[in-house]
């Protein structure tokens, strides 16, 4: 971390020695301990870990929805106390996250209405809907849409806010494989277009490698980042050709091993 990096760092996310304790049925449990994280502006970082490792909890701290028990979490150089401006979270459970009484268009407008002019609101909503390819369903109610489309509505709602950071909590976890792949590619395009920072929580190794600039693996109990794996695959990535590259396969291998799911050999 040199001084030259400062302007970029200033818009990024920083965690130092973060500790998160949740109160369970048997008293307080340390979920995460000694977590250091540094996400540069414009970077796509995946947080990977087995079920219950604390991925979602970490993301909730970055989102300002959960208080840390120790250490620091900062966005743009300021401690995160509530949801910071410019940081928007996309939740896994799209059906609970969308407002069933609002049409797609009005769901997408939720975060910006009253904050910008009507004309500005309409254009931001149209732009966000176009980015996720939902322009044609603007006047539908969410319950009439498929799961994949509902999740795109939630992503569009976040995009309409023109965030500098998008926090995504297993956003494609509840979707079928084909829908998942098409949404991965859409997300890739949107990020290329907007240049926003993405912190992406997933338990899907392939997804993490395919989308990310860096994959961070949470291990242990309480968990911390055991491995940081740089992914230098060429962009834009392609579901078929990228996944055939030896480099992709090698990265995938390393990440599986980092999770402790490998075939026994340690690299």
């Amino acid at each position: 971390m040199t001084q030259v990096d400062a302007p970029t760092e200033a818009r990024g996310l920083e965690c130092r020695d973060l500790q998160i304790t949740l109160v369970g049925a048997h008293g307080p449990v340390d979920i995460l301990k000694g977590v250091d994280l540094s996400v540069r502006a414009g970077e796509f970082v995946s947080i990977l870990g087995t079920s219950g490792a604390g991925k979602t909890t970490l993301l909730r701290v970055l989102a300002g929805l959960q208080k840390a028990a120790g250490g620091t979490a900062e966005f743009a150089g300021k401690p995160i106390q509530g949801p910071p401006p410019g940081v928007v979270t996309v939740f896994q459970d799209y059906s609970h996250s969308l407002l069933p009484w609002r049409t797609v268009r009005r769901n997408v407008a939720l975060g910006i209405e009253g904050k910008v002019s009507t004309a500005q609101r309409d254009s931001q909503v149209d732009e966000a809907l176009a980015m996720v390819g939902l322009g044609g369903s603007a006047n539908e109610y969410p319950y009439r849409l498929s799961g994949g489309m509902q999740q795109r509505v939630q992503i569009a709602r976040a995009l309409a806010m023109k965030p500098s950071v998008l926090l995504m909590d297993e956003p494609f976890g509840a979707l079928d494989a084909m829908t998942k792949q098409s949404l991965q590619d859409q997300l890739q395009q949107v990020q290329a277009l907007t240049g926003m920072t993405v912190v992406f929580v997933t338990h899907d190794v392939e997804e993490a490698v395919y989308l990310s600039d860096r994959v961070l693996v949470l291990t242990g109990r309480p968990a911390k980042f055991g491995h940081l794996i740089d992914v230098r695959l060429e962009r834009p990535r392609n579901q078929i050709s990228t996944k055939e590259q030896p480099e992709y396969l090698a990265l995938r291998h390393r990440v599986y091993e980092a999770l402790g799911l490998g075939d026994g050999e340690h690299g």
């Binding site: 949801p83 979270t89 609970h96 407002l99 069933p100 009484w101 975060g111 109610y141 319950y143």
Partner: protein
């Protein structure tokens, strides 16, 4: 809309009802059932024509509906506001919960003589009774609705940085809509019932008094005709309210699993 209505018609249910009316008619005519004062449906129809032609039906109907609906509308405004306040401000609930439980546990009929004493044999008394009757279900259902908001919906509001005011108006209130509608429907039924009671024992006017009057005048055809009108009122008011709710809040009603 017409298609949906048509879809809701239940031929078997209607056949059962018509069959019951036929049995009644046959039973009374053959002398198998009944007394001097049980008229067959055909005679009830004649009674209905009589009270309609004389105009007394419309005067009474109007009187009862105006009283019941005035009380109910007042209860809707006060009840939703009170229910929201109780749901949103914890201390308010803590302080008033015991009082609400006690007052709510009192059968509302018990208020009728009290209201008569305080307000006399007036329409004002009827409206007050309808208001009190409708108030509780509306308050309690609104309160339950405000509390029933999902934790995720609250988080969405925070993440999208909605103001406290917007969180109430754009998330909590709409999320409570289906509960509020249930309260309004229950309240409407109770308002109508208690208005009738207050007319029977208090203000001598409207459908409630007409029922008593026709009974005492030994005019069972007309009495039963009023009974039919009262029943039809309940069904019609409920249908109007539900239709209005479906038109005004299509998303909420569908999301609440509305397939009635």
């Amino acid at each position: 809309m017409a298609e949906r209505l048509l879809h809701r018609v239940n031929p078997l249910g209607i056949a059962t009802f018509v069959g019951f009316l036929l049995l009644w008619e046959l039973g009374v005519r053959s002398g198998a059932v009944g007394s001097t004062y049980l008229p067959p449906p055909s005679r009830v129809l004649v009674g209905l024509k009589e009270i309609s032609a004389s105009g007394e039906l419309w005067t009474n109907l109007q009187h009862t509906l105006v009283s019941a609906l005035t009380g109910w509308v007042g209860a809707a405004v006060v009840g939703v506001a009170l229910g929201m306040a109780l749901g949103l401000f914890r201390p308010l609930w803590t302080y008033s919960m015991a009082s609400i439980e006690v007052v709510r546990a009192l059968p509302i009929v018990a208020f009728v003589p009290v209201a008569v004493l305080l307000l006399g044999f007036t329409s004002k008394m009827e409206i007050a009774i309808a208001f009190i009757a409708a108030l509780w279900p509306i308050v309690l259902n609104t309160f339950a609705g405000v509390r029933a908001i999902g934790p995720r919906t609250v988080e969405v509001g925070r993440v999208l940085r909605l103001s406290r005011r917007d969180q109430i108006w754009k998330l909590r209130l709409p999320a409570a809509t289906s509960h509020i509608i249930v309260g309004l429907r229950l309240g409407l039924t109770l308002a109508l019932v208690l208005t009738l009671v207050s007319e029977m024992v208090g203000n001598p006017a409207g459908l409630g008094f007409a029922l008593i009057q026709k009974g005492q005048a030994l005019q069972p055809e007309q009495m039963f005709a009023y009974l039919v009108v009262v029943g039809a009122c309940g069904i019609a008011l409920n249908a109007v309210l539900l239709t209005a709710a479906r038109l005004a809040f299509p998303g909420q009603m569908a999301a609440a699993g509305d397939d009635a």
